[in-house]
Every structure is written in C-alpha cells, then in structure tokens.
Symmetry: C2
Subunit: 230 residues, 2 copies
C-alpha cells in the first residue's frame, strides 16, 4: 500500500462522478489535502470500528463493504465502484470494513478537512447530502430484498444493482467481481442457495452464465420485475 502526494494538474484526479462539473478553482482546496492510495486485491482498506478519520474516493477497482459479528456471521453491505465515496459519516467510527475485491486506486482525504471544505461550498454540500441519501436509499432497497424476497429474486436484485453500477458501457454483460460467499452474505443466503438460484435463473432463460464470474442478461424485463422493490 503506497500513499503519494499529488503533483499533477488537479483535474486529472477528480474524474469521479462526485466532482463532475465542478471547476478547477473549486477543486483546488481538495487537491491540496488529497493523497492517493493503491491497494491490491484482498486488502482491508478500512477496519470496522476504526476511527473514521479518512474519506476515500474510488478512482478504479472495486471494493466491498461488510459487517462482521463476534460469532463469525457476516453481512455484506454493498459494493463500491469508481466514482463512489467511502467514509462520509459523522460517527467517530466506521460502521463497516472495506475490502478491495480487485486492485483499486483511491483518493484519500483527511475526514475533518474534507468536511470543512465541503461545508464552505454549496455545490459540494448538496452533493454530499445527495450521496448520503443514495446510500440510505440503496440500503433500504437491500433491506426490502432481505425481508420480503425469495432467493432467486434477491439474486436478481444483486444482478440489477451491479448491472446498473458497474463501470463500462454494456449493462447486459455483468462482471461478478465477488465470489459466491460474498454474494451469499450480501443476500442473507448460503453459497449453495445462491448457486441454485443462478441455475434457476439460467433455466428460466433470464440470464446466461458465461462463466462463474460472467453473466449475460437475456431477459432484462423479467430480471427487473423480479428485482424491483416497488
């Protein structure tokens, strides 16, 4: 894991959707406090209950947010893709661990300074609020899925999520960066049930499984119908 100072033009590093359309002048204060970090696949970027002293912006790669309990149970909270922010919280501690699923590049900001700069710029301010609301909205969707849906419907929910949020232009080819255990812990199921749900969707001609980690959407309408929370 290496952290380096930025010595290049500001705009180069702020391609995240969070910063889109904000002028270089406004970005400069953030650039001044920004470092970069590169983490290999499998590393733990943030440990649950550690002090929330950094804010991260994902530049490339993919990460997983998770919570674990003492008795070994784990709930995967979500996945972070390029453009996502991690660690915008007002609590003292991180609510979850963050683990890199692939090698990932991130921007790192000191938490306190980040919020100070955000607070003094109304463009940023509203974006941070929207980001927070989006996170909550996603968590509520997931809650609905876990509380009210069957195994194969939950899987549709996950596929839909990834399909819409993964980088790249073709949402019909889904790149499953996580393994089956991660999916199971995200959906509140076991790996066996996840596997059976995959074959069920395959046999219903809703998806085509090109490999264990690559899925093609055949019938998007039905996928959405099964995934939807409304």
């Amino acid at each position: 894991m290496l952290e380096t100072e930025i010595h290049r033009p500001v705009e180069t590093f702020f391609h995240s959707r969070f910063f889109r359309g904000i002028s270089a002048d406004e970005l400069q204060p953030l650039a001044n406090i920004c470092k970069r970090k590169q983490v290999p696949a499998g590393t733990c970027l943030v440990r649950q209950h550690s002090p929330a002293s950094q804010v991260y912006s994902v530049i490339s790669g993919a990460l997983m947010l998770e919570r674990s309990s003492r008795n070994g149970k784990r709930q995967v909270i979500g996945f972070s893709f390029p453009g996502d922010l991690i660690g915008i919280t007002s609590n003292q501690e991180f609510e979850y661990s963050v683990i890199a699923l692939k090698e990932s590049h991130l921007q790192v900001f000191p938490h306190r300074e980040f919020l100070d700069i955000i607070d003094n710029n109304s463009n940023f301010k509203s974006r941070v609020r929207v980001t927070g609301c989006n996170i909550l909205a996603h968590t509520l969707d997931q809650l609905f899925a876990l509380g009210q849906k069957k195994a194969h419907e939950r899987l549709c929910f996950l596929l839909q999520q990834i399909s819409l949020r993964q980088p790249g232009s073709n949402p019909d080819v889904i790149d499953l960066i996580m393994n089956r255990q991660d999916i199971a812990d995200y959906l509140g199921l076991t790996i066996e049930t996840v596997s059976r749900a995959f074959t069920k969707l395959k046999n219903s001609n809703i998806i085509h499984i090109e490999s264990a980690h690559k899925v093609r959407v055949i019938d998007r309408l039905i996928l959405e119908e099964l995934a939807s929370a409304h």
Copy 2:
C-alpha cells in the same frame, strides 16, 4: 388533522433532543417557519413517493416508517418516537410512508427553508449529519438482523430497539405500540412466526408477556446477546 401557527415562546416547542442545548436566539428562525400538526392513530402522515417538501419533528406519540411494493409486500423500516426527525432527505421524494401508531403531535417545517436555516448554523449542521448517520446505522443493524439472524433473535433485536428508544424511564417494561403484523413486516417474518418467537422467549424466561402489547424484560443480558449485531 389541524395545522396551527405558533404564538407561544419558542422553547416550549423545541424540547426534542435534536434541539437540546441550542439557544432561543438560534431557534428563533426555525420557530418562525414552524407549524404544528396533530394526527390521530392510524393516519398516514407521509405517503411513499410524495414530494419531500416537509420535515417533521415528533413531539409526542409514535409513528411507523414503511415501504410497500405493488404486489402487496410491505417492509417496515423503523419506528419514530418523540425527539426523532422525519424527512431529512435530499431526494425529491419520500423513500417511505409514515403512519401514526398513536395520536401524535409534530412540528412541521418546510423542507427547503429548514435546510437553509440548518446550513447557516454550525450547531445544527453537525446535528443533522449525526442524525442522518444514526438512521443509516440503525438500518444497517436491521439489515444484519434480517440477513443473519433467526426469528427469535430478530425479535430480541426489535425488543432491544424499542426498549432503548421508547419514551419513559423504565426500559424493562416494553410498550409494544405496533401490532403483530407490523412486527412481522419489520423483521421479515409472518405473524405466526412472530407469535411463536414470543412464546419461545417467554418459555426461556427471557421475557414475561404481561399482555399482547406489554412485555417485561426478565434477562436483559441474554436479550442483548441474542439481539446484538457484534
């Protein structure tokens, strides 16, 4: 449902924990835009997908937040008690419906003006952020319960939640303001399973059921152990 202007001293209405310790001078701008609302038990205060144009502060009573899908499934998101804020979002629409479980009194603020005032006062600003984070933290706890816990453990989670958040000084006597269907939809179970979970906890001498809506905690340590997400 009646809405009235405030003509009494400011402090009278701002006893919510959200406003605690903030001076009358600072509260005045909020008082100026504040109306009151009283809703009888069973009323729908906010309808899912309606424009998020109000912020509410609960003065007395109890409310339930829920999401419904077209096919009739419902997920209860949480419960609001005196001192809670409802509707702090940056989205255009409410993410959920809000229904009064008892007759409830609320303060009502226009959304836009509320946020403007909040943004110009650093005391408020940090409190709003903390409130948002607490809501997310609670939702994550619930997510963990639905994903990883068995029926009777989920029930312990709910009892623990209410016990800690309900008004009144004695956390060992739990007032179940909601009915069994509400509990079931909160925990992702059916009413029958909820009922069986109650008798299971009763037979294990963890709780005593005084009536269908009043429960006494016998063994708080075990209750916490079963409820905990860590």
